[in-house]
Subunit: 312 residues, 2 copies
DNA sequence: CTGAAAGCGCTTACAG
DNA sequence: CTGAAAGCGCTTACAG
């Protein structure tokens, strides 16, 4: 009967429709005592009719609101980021925080909707939009430290060295390290492996992560994949090419994906406790928020662990 | 020097610290024209010193704000939900919406922070908290239709029948259907398979999804797993028990996980296009919001597809 | 170039 | 049991 509303209904619209004042609407909506049941029904009916939904902003301004954390992760379709996000969600809920998520492409947009941001993308988090300086940002494993952002740094040297020792001890002397950068070797995960090989007198071949095994140098007897998903792809390719893993070729992934436990062979990998990463990130949000203005941003270092499974 | 602030700094605090008015602070913060550069610097410095970050609520009240979608998914560590979430995030960003995420356990809390909710959990979405009736809710594949919620329904009968025909044609006549409910057979995904088997004169054995293969009836020659992750686990167990797949035992999963392409053997599965599911859900949010008060909630039906890979 | 006023939608005291 | 007033933090016209 009524024309479609140009804007969403407000509490005043409901009050007018029900013939009461705004505070009576609030009372009805929040099931507060001291309201005539008949009045309440009338208000609720009007609210339903108008599809009234209270404005988050009006309410947030006047009631202590949940802190809202912005979370930016690489790609949720990769279970690695999914696990991290899942851990952050659980921890945030336990603290009563809300979590706004965004893909890296629209990360800058988060500044408007979050009180702080945790970013885990493999690249640098873009500077927040104009109008939102001083947004506390925590980066997980960023390519470069930032002078005003807290960060969770990954320690890879130890685990990479263990993996390399493991490979060498089993006779793999012609290793390839796969990487996402051009030229390959620029990412910290690849760099840690390259360094470990060199420290032991072995010069690994470098190639892009998208290389198939057939494109690698003949004689290749070990491959360090860029991540576990790539490692699984490689395992599949080697199976189809009738190359025995680990006898002829050894494969190491990075990430510690649970699904690497269910393949044949199980994928050896560099793992990190993502629940711990999540906890460190949330702790840093608090620390950074409370830090003195000039103080250097806090840092947490978390180490990878080499998990030898069957592919090595 | 100054005592720690009891509350976050507001624009008035910054104005006072810089010795200007509130609108001058706004001007400096938003890089607006018509402000003395020296004044701007002074304001920005004060803002930094006070760690001032504008309130989302104050701003949201006065500027047209992004719509915020609440998204509740089962478990992000499962790439199935991760893929869906990833698709929703991308689509939402394209429309300029924000996305607040929560785990099912804290889903009710979303009512305070979202303008609408999309829920995909395998169970019924809890009724939103008091004070937020009329919150538009879109459920994906809910166990039961809800009188006021829109929903994306999954059509499983066709694909399940195809999978069953495929199994039967290859001689698997003693199938087991695994399920998450107690007793098993209560979930819609399991029910669709059971029905298809019965329609063809075969009575499948039912067991709980956590059953290991060794606990299934002797002679079992086909297993319908509850989901792909379970299917991969089963594949691994069969490999260790030296049972040939698919020759002795055929395995079907449900979800269409990408990782099922990289295992050996590749996992046959019932897949659904999650990008399409995401699009349907977001479209329903809009439809539901615009719908007439009394109108029945809109519904979209999306069908699974049987993807025969190597495990059958 | 800068400030005083009005108003966004809500809830919380306080009157009646 | 119900309503008038004040105020949360911000931006947008409008004066000066």
């Amino acid at each position: 009967m009524s024309a479609p509303p140009a804007r969403a209904a407000t509490i005043v619209d409901v009050a007018r429709a029900a013939g009461v004042s705004r505070q009576t609407v609030t009372r009805a909506l929040h099931d507060m005592p001291g309201i005539n049941p008949a009045t309440r029904e009338r208000v609720l009916a009007a609210a339903r009719e108008l599809r009234y939904h209270p404005s988050r902003f009006g309410r947030g301004l006047v009631k202590p609101a949940a802190r809202t954390l912005g979370l930016v992760v690489g790609d949720l379709a990769n279970p690695y980021y999914g696990e991290l996000a899942s851990a952050v969600l659980a921890l945030a809920a336990a603290r009563g925080w809300h979590v706004v998520m965004a893909e890296p492409a629209s990360a800058a947009d988060l500044a408007a909707g979050a009180d702080a941001v945790v970013a885990f993308t493999g690249t640098a988090f873009p500077d927040p939009a104009v109008g939102a300086p001083n947004l506390p940002v925590v980066e997980i494993d960023p390519p470069h430290p930032h002078p005003r952002r807290a960060r969770v740094a990954f320690e890879r040297a130890t685990a990479s060295a263990q993996a390399v020792d493991h490979l060498l001890a089993r006779g793999s002397l012609r290793p390839v390290v796969l990487d996402s950068t051009t030229p390959p070797g620029g990412s910290s995960r690849a760099a840690a492996f390259v360094e470990a090989f060199r420290a032991r007198g072995v010069e690994p071949h470098l190639a892009h992560r998208t290389s198939s095994f057939s494109q690698l140098p003949p004689g290749t007897d070990a491959v360090v994949a860029f991540n576990d998903l790539d490692g699984l792809r490689l395992l599949r390719e080697l199976h189809e090419a009738h190359r025995a893993v680990p006898r002829e070729v050894r494969v190491v992934g990075v990430d510690g994906l649970a699904v690497g436990e269910f393949t044949t062979p199980r994928l050896s990998t560099l793992a990190i406790d993502l629940a711990e990463v999540a906890r460190a990130a949330l702790d840093l949000v608090v620390e950074l928020t409370d830090a003195a203005p000039g103080a250097p941003p806090p840092v947490r270092v978390l180490a990878h662990v080499f998990r030898a499974r069957e592919s090595t």
